[in-house]
Symmetry: D2
Subunit: 224 residues, 4 copies
């Protein structure tokens, strides 16, 4: 309906994962030309290839997905940590590296990282996942400061409790355990994926021109 991203060329990674489909839909509704990408970004050359194929990228939405192992820290082996780093941290560095030069040359660009609330507040059985998600935030803060003078904005969310068939299937939402968890979410409900995607517009559009390395929680009040 709106035109908040009119004329912007946007790349969305892992477009079938997490809130990827809704990002693509919402950004298109706002006038963006969206390149929805689903290639496996754990391949070392994949990020550079994606950016090269994309041509001009005004906004890179680093939506990176990983299945949370869900194990206790001391039962979680090296491979589980490595998987998180391979899926969430290394691709972010490669994508950033690939896209920054063209953005610097144009003195214009946005990188939006779809981050996780688990990076900001401890949760049992999330240690290796939280490590990788926190790494994204640390990376964002430093890169953002580096490129701000080139008029490029790099920011991230920290979302959690967003409706998602993997983490919150309908049958789970009918359980007492789910209802007990919602007691601890001040909003008292899950966000829809569409709401989460709409929130990202703030980091992708002109409203973010003065935001440098900000991490915005989107958690229903679970993180303050």
């Amino acid at each position: 309906m709106g035109g908040r991203l009119a004329g912007r060329r946007v790349v969305v990674t892992d477009c079938d994962e997490l809130i990827g489909p809704e990002i693509v839909a919402v950004f298109r509704e706002e006038g963006a030309e969206v390149l929805a990408d689903r290639r496996d970004l754990t391949q070392p050359s994949a990020a550079a290839a994606l950016i090269e194929e994309a041509g001009q990228v005004d906004v890179l939405v680093a939506n990176l997905a990983a299945k949370v192992p869900g194990k206790l820290a001391h039962e979680s082996d090296d491979a589980e940590l490595d998987l998180m780093l391979d899926r969430l941290v290394r691709p972010l560095h490669r994508l950033t590296r690939a896209v920054l030069p063209q953005m610097m040359a144009r003195r214009q660009g946005k990188i939006v990282v779809v981050g996780a609330g688990a990076a900001l507040r401890g949760v049992p059985r999330r240690a290796v996942y939280a490590a990788a998600r926190a790494a994204q935030h640390g990376y964002v803060r430093s890169v953002a400061v580096e490129v701000a003078r080139h008029n490029i904005q790099v920011n991230a969310t920290a979302q959690t409790f967003v409706e998602n068939p993997t983490y919150f299937p309908p049958e789970y939402q009918a359980t007492d355990e789910f209802r007990a968890r919602m007691e601890n979410v001040p909003a008292g409900r899950l966000a829809t994926a569409r709401e989460a995607a709409q929130f990202l517009l703030t980091l992708a559009g002109p409203e973010s021109d003065f935001l440098v390395g900000q991490i915005f929680p989107f958690t229903g009040g679970w993180v303050h």
Copy 2:
């Protein structure tokens, strides 16, 4: 141009102060019916009168201004602290108290507090101001949790380095002192008041439906 606030009735307090004029303009452009108010909210009954006169209030923008005394803490007397509390804290409580019942009755509403970065990062000669601004944030977090289940969202910004003829007059912007200060702002510039007002849309529109007591810095990277 857009319609992000189409049909919403919005009250903006201290509408001639800080970014008040730009909030009024930007919110109207997005379709809101804005009641721009300039009454002196230090009068104990003023907030209740404002809300009563306003009728239905979908969004209350608590834009509260105070002239920063700019003294060292130990040279700042009781009256200076009291002035900050009178202008920034007491009116916020009175406005909130006045507007919440109608929002609860409708199970819908937003309170947006235009806060200050000085609440989050220490600056010399700001102690009593920072105290009052931090009080706003503490208040926001608790009220937000309280009313989230009524489908009312209460959130705040923490803005600083926003263009403003009082704090950053053109002649000051030409000084070396100003340029030295900008060195410490990763964005390397001031935000325009219009940018700051646009950022507030995120806390006033549907994008904020899942935000509960969030404090969003808008500081050019000065606060992370």
Copy 3:
């Protein structure tokens, strides 16, 4: 047993309130000469009189107590907010103002504010209390930056879930409600008042020489 505060002259305010008695005891065990004060600091001249009577103050422990009203924000009147400001914010400013000049003259001193976790995370029925507690933190951050170059350190805690006969009487600790609340405290228990007092040593002794305006949560993991 130790001598972490050997030879230090310490003032502890509201010495009968909150963890006051344990601060006095623990600081004396560490060799401090403690002036335990119980005067009513809501009297405008009380803070200055206290510091004058105290003579040299190496460490000021601003332990300020207020009975939490426990009302919903919209049911809490002006008087309840004022009471919080009168007990928690104004005395802090007066004490700071009174003690800083002597500390500056000696180029040495510490101000330790016993703050509250409610300032950092929203809790229902705490709005006016949270506002005043957050004001303390904002004040601390700015004063700290101001006086750091005088070799004076100003820091605060944000404590909560500390054993206290007022908030957590034994009969309450036997209830299911209490046990349910403990489920949300990662530590799974209350801290003892003695533990909270020992934690303050870190902000009062030489370990704090490099800490400037830091707010340290002491909440059993409730705030991250």
Copy 4:
């Protein structure tokens, strides 16, 4: 002089790096039996071997060092990120995994992570370093929540501006650039390594019994 760690068996990793030597010295002065270890923890089996050789470990000080590459994000290749992860993140997971079972069996233990301020505030030319340091903090928060009920405390610092011949050699401290940087540190000076080591005592001794996943900045006020 004191006995804050009397009878405690402590492992300090990378004992020749960063503030390792001072940790060993200060902790011994406080009565700890310190195993100062210098093995290369990038070897996958090294962490487990260290813990096995150590026997009972009451306190693990994860002091992990990595030479900061100091490159711009887009000039920093995969190998540079991997080196940071290899030195700062993987060993932390392996050490934690190796030591937790014995701590759980005894229902007692502390893990203290010597972290970096760069994880919390963006700095140019630190992106891959900041990512790895932030990963440590995210990991700490989640593991801490997981093991708190076993009476094990896991916490971290975020230190920066600590005297260190690698980052701040005497000749650099004589430069204008160094003096300009100190202008941005409210404390106006570097901390000594000994001060930083003393600060760690708070996370290693009984004062930390109620701290769960806390990240304590030690930055001279650079991070609030």
